[in-house]
C-alpha cells in the first residue's frame, strides 16, 4: 500500500483495515527507505511516536477516537517547540536544545490524538527558499533529488510528498509553506494571520509568521487547520473571533465566483510553462461557471523589497536572544560581550547573519525612516492594492512560484535570485491574508507546478471552496519518483 491521506486513513480505520500502529509503521518504513536520499527529517521520535500510536490504536479499538487526526502520523517543522524533543531550527546555535514546552499548535495536535513522527528540516530559522540553508545539510526534492524541495518548510513538504508523514506542519513568513508545497507537488496552506497561535513557533518575523498545514489534499489541509486554529490567550496577536469553517461550502463549486488572475504575477519573470498550466486551470474553472477576470496588484514588486526590510528588521531583534548565555551553543570569550559575539558568529549561518545585519541596519538611527518606516508604508499600500483587487474578484490566483524546482546550488551564490522565488507568495504575508497552494500539473521536466489561490482576511471558507474545485478539475495524481515503486 502507499501512505494514505488523512481522509483515506480515517476510512481505513473505520473499516478496520488499518490501525494507527500499522500506519505509523508504514510511514516509518517509508522514512527508512527515503531518508538517506531525501533528508526530510532532522529528528525522528521513534519512541514518542510509537507510544502515541499505541494509545490511538487503543482509542480506535474502544471506539473512542477523538476526531479525524486521531492516530494520524504528522511531521513538524523543526522551528515548532516540542516538549522533550530537540528543536534546532536547523541552526548550530540551538543544537541540542530541548524545549520545556509544546507550541500551542503542537499541543492541539496532541490533544486531537495525532502521532507526532518527528521534526523536519528547514532553512535555518526559516530563512530561505530552498532548505539549503540548513546547518545539518539540505533536503532534496523527491521528484528529482538533484533539485531543491523549496523552503523554508522543505523537509515537511518532502516528507508529505513521499509519504514519510501523512501530513505536516510548516510555517510561512514569505511563502515558506506554499512554495515548497508547490515544488514538491503537495498542498500548502497559510491561514489568515492570527488564526493559528504563534506561541511556541520560534519567531523569524513575528508580524508575518503563520503556522499552517502541508498535506496531500485540500480536505486534509482543512482538517489540520480546524484543529490548530482558534484563539490562544498565550498569543496577543491571536484572533479572538470565530474561526471560519473551511468546509462550510466545500461542494458548492465555483459557479458565479469571480476569480482574479493577478496580471503582475502571470507574465514577466514567470516561467512560461508554469504560467501556461495556471491559465489552463483557469479555463477549466471558467468551464465550471467561474467568472475569470484579470486584476492588478501594482505594488507586488516593491512588496518584495518591503518584505526584505520588515522581515530582517524583526528577525534582528527576534534572534538577539541567541547569545550563548542561557541555552544553546556557547563559544566562550574573555568577557560577556565577547562570548555573545563569538557564539553568534559561530552559531548562525551566512543567510541568517546576512538578514540580521540587514535588519539591524534598517532599524538604525538615521536609516529607520528611509528603510523600516518606508517598508511599512509599502505594506499599507499592498493591503490597499488587495482591497481594490477584491472589489473586482472574490479570490485571486497566481502561480505559487515563478519556476518549478531548481537545481541544488543554483541560487545559493545569488541571494537576490533566491529572494525572487517568493515574489508570488510574499504579498499575502504582508497583508496577513490566507493563501493556499495546490499542485495542478507537471512541467516538461516532470516537475510539479503549484497554483496559488488567495482570499481576503478570514476568507477561508471561500478559499477552500475554490481550492476544492481546482483540485477536482486539475485532477493531479502524479507521484514523485521517490514515492513510486515502493513496496
Amino acid at each position: 500500500m502507499s501512505t494514505p491521506t488523512i481522509a483515506e486513513a480515517n476510512r481505513l480505520f473505520e473499516e478496520g483495515l488499518l490501525d494507527p500502529v500499522e500506519l505509523l509503521s508504514e510511514v516509518l518504513h517509508r522514512a527508512s527507505l527515503t531518508e538517506a536520499e531525501l533528508h526530510a527529517y532532522l529528528t525522528i521520535d521513534h519512541e514518542g511516536a510509537r507510544r502515541r500510536a499505541e494509545a490511538a490504536a487503543e482509542r480506535l479499538a474502544r471506539g473512542e477516537r477523538r476526531g479525524p487526526l486521531d492516530g494520524i502520523p504528522i511531521a513538524l517543522k523543526d522551528n515548532l517547540c516540542t516538549k522533550g524533543v530537540e528543536t534546532t531550527c536547523a541552526s548550530q546555535i540551538l543544537a541540542g536544545w530541548v524545549p520545556p514546552y509544546d507550541a500551542t499548535a503542537v499541543a492541539r495536535l496532541q490533544e486531537a490524538g495525532a502521532v507526532l513522527v518527528g521534526k523536519t528540516n528547514l532553512d535555518e530559522f526559516a530563512m530561505g527558499s530552498s532548505t539549503e540553508n540548513s546547518a545539518y545539510g539540505p533536503t532534496r526534492n523527491p521528484w528529482d533529488t538533484e533539485r531543491v524541495p523549496g523552503g523554508s518548510s522543505g523537509g515537511s513538504a518532502a516528507a508529505v510528498a513521499v509519504g514519510s508523514a501523512v501530513a505536516a506542519l510548516g510555517s510561512d513568513t514569505g511563502g515558506s509553506i506554499r512554495q515548497p508545497a508547490a515544488l514538491c507537488g503537495v498542498v500548502g496552506f497559510k491561514p489568515t494571520y492570527g488564526l493559528v497561535s504563534r506561541y511556541g513557533l520560534v519567531a523569524f518575523a513575528s508580524s508575518l509568521d503563520q503556522i499552517g498545514p502541508i498535506t496531500r489534499t485540500v480536505a486534509d489541509a482543512g482538517m489540520l487547520f480546524e484543529v490548530i486554529a482558534g484563539h490562544d490567550p498565550l498569543d496577543a496577536t491571536s484572533y479572538p473571533g470565530q474561526v471560519p469553517r473551511w468546509d462550510a461550502e466545500l461542494d458548492a463549486g465555483v459557479g458565479g465566483v469571480r476569480i482574479g488572475l493577478v496580471r503582475e504575477l502571470s507574465g514577466d519573470g514567470i516561467d512560461p510553462e508554469v504560467a501556461e498550466v495556471c491559465r489552463r486551470v483557469l479555463d477549466l474553472l471558467s468551464d465550471q461557471g467561474a467568472q475569470v477576470v484579470e486584476v492588478s496588484l501594482p505594488t507586488v514588486e516593491v512588496a518584495l523589497s518591503a518584505y526584505y526590510l520588515v522581515a530582517p528588521a524583526e528577525c534582528s531583534a527576534n534572534l538577539a536572544r541567541f547569545d550563548g548565555i542561557r541555552y544553546g551553543l556557547r563559544v566562550p570569550g574573555d568577557t560577556v560581550s565577547e562570548t555573545m559575539g563569538r557564539t553568534r558568529a559561530e552559531g548562525f549561518g551566512p543567510e541568517v547573519t546576512r538578514r540580521i545585519l540587514l535588519g539591524t541596519y534598517a532599524l538604525s538611527a538615521g536609516y529607520y525612516d528611509a528603510f523600516y518606516l518606508q517598508a511599512q508604508r509599502v505594506r499599507a499600500l499592498v493591503v490597499q492594492d488587495f482591497a481594490e483587487a477584491y472589489q473586482k474578484a472574490d479570490v485571486l490566483v497566481s502561480p505559487t512560484s515563478p519556476t518549478t524546482a531548481f537545481p541544488l546550488g543554483a541560487k545559493v551564490a545569488d541571494p537576490l535570485a533566491m529572494y525572487m522565488s517568493d515574489v508570488c507568495t510574499i504579498p499575502s504575508n504582508l497583508a496577513g491574508h490566507p493563501a493556499i497552494s495546490l499542485p495542478v500539473g507537471l512541467d516538461s521536466a516532470g516537475l510539479p507546478i503549484g497554483l496559488q489561490i488567495m482570499a481576503p482576511a478570514l476568507g477561508e471558507t471561500l478559499l477552500f471552496r475554490v481550492a476544492a474545485e481546482v483540485e477536482r478539475v486539475a485532477g493531479f495524481d502524479a507521484r514523485p519518483r521517490l514515492a513510486e515503486g515502493m513496496p
Binding site: N79, T87, V202, T237, Y368
Partner: protein, 477 residues
C-alpha cells in the same frame, strides 16, 4: 556670574501586581533565584508576551494622579541592546507613543511650593539581576556572574520629569512627594533601598536665562539623602569645571555613597542606538474613555488633597505633612478617630507621635480602633487620666488589653479627682512631714512643690495635681 542648575528626574517604579508584565509568573521579592520564571520571562525560543491588563490600569492610575493626558492609543516598542540579564536582548518598553504624557506634580519644598512638569510615564518590563562574584561585587572585578531572572519581566513604570527642578533639596522633595503618590495609589511598595523605586537624575548648569548646558546622568542613588547629596556634589563639580573654563562631558556618572562623589562610568560619545521599533508580538494598548473614567473614579485621595484636608480640619502644617506621609493604617486611624468625635489636632499629634513611635518599637502591635483612640483622648480632656498616664493606657491598648477606660481602670491609672479621698492622703503627708510644713510656713514657698510630689507619690501618680495644689493651699493657708 552665577550658574543655575537644571535638574530632571527619571524614576522607575516596580509595580506590585500579582503577576509579571507579560507572563503569569509571580511578582515576589526575595524568593530563591530563578524560581519565578517561565519560557516567556526567560526569553526562550518561541515564547510570546501577553500584556498584564492590571499593570496598564495601574500605569493609567499613576498618569491620572500626575495630571497626565492618557493617550487613547499607545504602542509597545522593542528597545534593543545586548546584556546578560536581559533575556531577549531587547526590552519591551514604550517609545514615541507612551500611555501617559504632559502632566505635573505640585510639591511643597523646603523653600515653598513648586510645580514639576511630567514629560511622560510609560510601561516597560524589568530586567533580571546580575550577581557579580569576586572582589567588590562590581562587574569589572567579577570572577563569575550569576543571573537571577525572578525580576525579569516585572512591570516597571518609568516616569520622566521635565527639567524643571532648580535645586537638590527640591529634587529630593519632588522624589519624596512622588513616592507618597505611588504609595497612596497602592501600586508599588516603592522601597528605595530594595530598588523597587529607583531615581536617576539628569543635571546640567546654565547661565540664568541662557541655553541649556551639557547634561550628565547620575545613577545609583538609593535614598533621598543620597539623591540630594549626589546632585549637590555633581552641581559643584560641574560649576568648578565651568569656572575653570573647561567643558562638561556628556556622560553617565555613578554615585559612590561612601566616597561621596560621582564617578564616570562610560562616555556617551554618541547616544546609544537602541533601534526602537514597534513590537510585532503585541497589539496597541487602547485606553478608551470608559476605562479611563472608571480608573479616574477609583482614584484615592492624593497626598496633596489629603494634606489640604488635614489643614482644614485644624491640624498644623508640620503634623499634616507627617501624617500624610504615614502608613495607610495610621491615616485611617486618624480619620476614624476624628469621625468618632476626637479633636483632629490632638488626634494627629497622637497618631504621628506616640502611636507611630510605639509601632516603630514593635511592629506586631495592634492598632486601636478609631473609636478607642477617641475615647482615650476624651479621658485626657476630661481629666480622667493624666497626659502621662495616657501614654501608659495607650501602651495597654496597643498590647491588646482592651479599650481606653478598661485599660485605665485595670492598670489603676484613673486620676483621683475626689477631694474627700485626696484629703486623707494630704493630711497623712502633712503629718509625716512636719519639717516641710514648718519651712513653708516660714515663707519657703518652694517647699510646696516637694509636698505635692509626696502626695503624687503616695497616690502612685494618679492624683489630679490641680486638686492636690488646692487642698495643700487650703491646709497650709
Amino acid at each position: 556670574m552665577t550658574w543655575e542648575p537644571v535638574i530632571g528626574i527619571e524614576v522607575h517604579v516596580e509595580l506590585l501586581t500579582s503577576s509579571k508584565m507579560f507572563c503569569g509568573c509571580r511578582v515576589s521579592f526575595g524568593d530563591p533565584p530563578n524560581t519565578n520564571v517561565c519560557p516567556t520571562c526567560l526569553g526562550l525560543p518561541g515564547s510570546l508576551p501577553v500584556p498584564n491588563r492590571r499593570a496598564i490600569e495601574w500605569l493609567v492610575k499613576i498618569g491620572l494622579a500626575l495630571n497626565c493626558r492618557i493617550n487613547e492609543w499607545s504602542v509597545f516598542h522593542r528597545k534593543n541592546y545586548f546584556y546578560a540579564d536581559l533575556p531577549k536582548n531587547y526590552q519591551i518598553s514604550q517609545y514615541d507613543h507612551p500611555v501617559c504624557v504632559d502632566g505635573w506634580l505640585d510639591v511643597s519644598g523646603p523653600d515653598g511650593a513648586f510645580r514639576v512638569g511630567i514629560e511622560r510615564a510609560h510601561m516597560e518590563e524589568d530586567t533580571g539581576k546580575s550577581i557579580h562574584l569576586g572582589e567588590g561585587g562590581r562587574i569589572h572585578s567579577a570572577t563569575q556572574t550569576l543571573l537571577d531572572f525572578n525580576r525579569a519581566g516585572v512591570p516597571l513604570v518609568e516616569i520622566v520629569s521635565k527639567p524643571d527642578i532648580g535645586t537638590p533639596p527640591r529634587a529630593r522633595a519632588f522624589a519624596q512627594e512622588l513616592r507618597e503618590v505611588i504609595l497612596t495609589l497602592g501600586v508599588s511598595d516603592a522601597r528605595l533601598e530594595e530598588g523597587s523605586m529607583r531615581f536617576d537624575a539628569n543635571v546640567s548648569l546654565r547661565r540664568p536665562g541662557g541655553p541649556l548646558g551639557t547634561k550628565v546622568e547620575v545613577k545609583n542613588m538609593n535614598s533621598f539623602r543620597s539623591l540630594e547629596r549626589a546632585l549637590g556634589y555633581e552641581i559643584d563639580r560641574q560649576r568648578k569645571l565651568l569656572e575653570a573654563g573647561r567643558e562638561v562631558v556628556q556622560e553617565t556618572r555613578h554615585w559612590d555613597e561612601e566616597a561621596g562623589v560621582t564617578q564616570g562610568m562610560r562616555t556617551k560619545e554618541v547616544s546609544s542606538d537602541y533601534r526602537y521599533f514597534p513590537d510585532p508580538d503585541l497589539v496597541p494598548i487602547v485606553v478608551d474613555t470608559a476605562w479611563r473614567e472608571r480608573i479616574a473614579a477609583e482614584l484615592p485621595e492624593l497626598p496633596a488633597q489629603r494634606r489640604a484636608r488635614y489643614l482644614d480640619q485644624g491640624v498644623d502644617p508640620q503634623t499634616a505633612s507627617v501624617l500624610s506621609a504615614s502608613e495607610p493604617d495610621l491615616r485611617n486611624l486618624y480619620d476614624q478617630a476624628v469621625e468618632a468625635g476626637a479633636d483632629p489636632r490632638t488626634t494627629a499629634l497622637w497618631v504621628t507621635g506616640e502611636i507611630t513611635a510605639a509601632l516603630r518599637r514593635d511592629e506586631q502591635l495592634r492598632l486601636p480602633a478609631g473609636g478607642e483612640l477617641a475615647e482615650l483622648l476624651t479621658l485626657i480632656e476630661q481629666g480622667t487620666v493624666s497626659a502621662s498616664a495616657a501614654k501608659e493606657v495607650l501602651a495597654g491598648m496597643l498590647a491588646g488589653e482592651g479599650g481606653a477606660r478598661e485599660v485605665a481602670e485595670r492598670r489603676n491609672l484613673i486620676q483621683i479627682s475626689d477631694s474627700d479621698a485626696l484629703s486623707e492622703v494630704v493630711d497623712t503627708v502633712l503629718a509625716e512631714n512636719p519639717d516641710a510644713v514648718e519651712r513653708y510656713r516660714a515663707g519657703e514657698g518652694k517647699v510646696l512643690g516637694f509636698l505635692v510630689g509626696q502626695v503624687m507619690r503616695a497616690t502612685g501618680g494618679r492624683a489630679d495635681p490641680r486638686l492636690v495644689n488646692r487642698l495643700l493651699a487650703e491646709r497650709l493657708g
